[in-house]
């Protein structure tokens, strides 16, 4: 029930954003997050955006992981 889903912002109209979630489009409330732009990903729970994806941190996590695993991809 605390499942929140990443959604890509398609467009914005005030406190409402049109987002795409797994191919479906719906409106979500973006009152609680700052500086959302079209093209960004937001974390949506019960119709409300709770956070904006930090893309730098996402990339950092991947590189940390690669380092921790000794670059061991096969």
């Amino acid at each position: 029930m605390c499942l929140a889903i990443p959604a890509r912002v398609v467009s914005l109209d005030g406190r409402i954003a049109l987002v795409e979630i797994q191919g479906n489009r719906r409106n979500v409330d973006v009152t609680l997050v700052d500086g959302v732009r079209a093209g960004q990903y937001v974390l949506v729970h019960a119709g409300i955006a709770l956070q904006v994806l930090d893309e730098a941190e996402a990339a950092e996590t991947l590189s940390l992981l690669t380092a921790a695993l000794g670059g061991g991809h096969e």
Binding site: C2, L32, H45, G47, I48, L50, E57, T61, A68, L69
Partner: protein
């Protein structure tokens, strides 16, 4: 070999004693079962489910209280889908709907406000259930209804707060934990700071984890290191792409404008101080409990059902005699089997059926 498999093997190699970590999020419960991580680490790292499923932790008396709203003349009872099949002592919302009550499943609290606007002659009662992720949506809906002058919209607040439940578990001393896997999405609201007390007051390591197998394993990797003295005991943020150190202060402010902490009853944990959310006086007109008072007698205990012990992490679902016999997904007796995020339902669905 996949990254997840490599990391799993790395964790298995470094565990030197049996460790026990608790997750307190139903989505984690499902993800850990579905990915097979629980079984793959068994014998070395025991990943035990705690009070992380909102429907499951709701006490029987509160379920009965919610069912009573079906008797309010002209009522539309709006709720998240998880709650509809949960049996109270006299049926479920699904049974009441079959008997003629107007019970509607909504995706968000705001949809319930829309229902109220579209049905001005009816009384819309929204059953607000969930943790810190869900409470902001209810608070925003109430603020919206207040601004727009919607007078036929009410909320029953059964919202619950995660940290007080963790404190209650640790205070009771029964959980014997080496650390916590902190709920990833609750943490987007509470931030890293919201769980700092685990390290500073209880000396327990904690890791905020996401929901992909790699996210979970990265969190467990830190917990193993910290529990074995190879890392400092702290709150590790292993879900940085979504969780900021400060969380979402605006979401917390919205909750705080509408609600104030109150003592709340949890299934399996009893009455926990300041673990629920009650209406502030400014928004009391939206409080369904005061608008539609009902006498709800104390329900009888559920015979044989051990959901309470499951929620405290004292037993695993297969240790309950009803698991997979009298209680299953098609005929659930306890809420941990009803909700898709309940530990019993997750263990059953992913075949973790043998007592361990």
């Amino acid at each position: 070999m996949s990254d997840a498999r490599l990391l799993l093997e790395q964790i298995r190699r470094k565990v030197t004693r049996p460790l026990r970590f608790m997750e307190v999020c139903g989505t984690h419960t499902v993800a850990i079962s579905r990915s097979g991580i629980r079984g793959l680490l068994a014998g070395q790292v025991d990943l035990v489910s705690g009070p992380g499923c909102p429907v499951c932790v709701t006490a029987d008396v509160e379920i009965d209280r919610m069912l009573a709203y079906c008797d309010v003349p002209g009522a539309i009872v709006a709720t998240y889908g998880d709650l509809v099949r949960v049996p109270g002592s006299a049926g479920s919302l699904a049974a009441r709907r079959a008997a003629g009550a107007d019970v509607r499943v909504v995706y968000s609290a705001m949809d319930a406000v829309t229902l109220a606007r579209e049905n001005p002659g009816r009384t819309v009662i929204f059953l607000g259930i969930g943790f810190e992720t869900t409470a902001p949506a209810a608070a925003l809906a109430i603020a919206t209804a207040a601004e727009a002058g919607v007078r036929n919209f009410y909320v029953h607040s059964a919202h619950k707060l995660t940290p007080p439940a963790m404190r209650a578990l640790l205070g009771a001393g029964g959980a014997r934990l080496d650390g916590f896997l902190c709920p990833g999405h609750v943490s987007t609201v509470l931030g890293v700071d919201g769980f700092a007390f685990l390290a500073t007051e209880y000396g327990l390591p904690a890791a905020i984890g996401g929901f992909e197998p790699l996210d979970i394993l990265m969190a467990v990797d830190y917990l193993v290191d910290a529990a074995q003295g190879a890392q400092l005991v702290r709150v590790e943020n292993a879900y940085r792409r979504w969780v900021k150190p400060e969380g979402n202060p605006r979401a917390r402010a919205v909750i705080g404008q509408t609600f104030a902490p109150c003592d709340a009853r949890w299934r399996g944990l009893g009455l926990i101080p300041a673990s629920g959310l009650a209406f502030r006086a400014e928004y009391a007109a939206f409080d369904a409990e005061t608008a539609f008072p009902a006498e709800v007698p104390e329900p009888p205990p559920r015979l044989g059902c051990r959901c309470g012990e499951v929620l405290r992490g004292e037993i695993k679902p297969p240790q309950c005699k009803l698991f997979g016999t009298a209680c299953g997904p098609e005929h659930p007796l306890g809420p941990c089997m009803v909700s898709g995020e309940g530990a019993c339902a997750a263990y059953h669905r992913y075949g973790e059926g043998s007592p361990c």
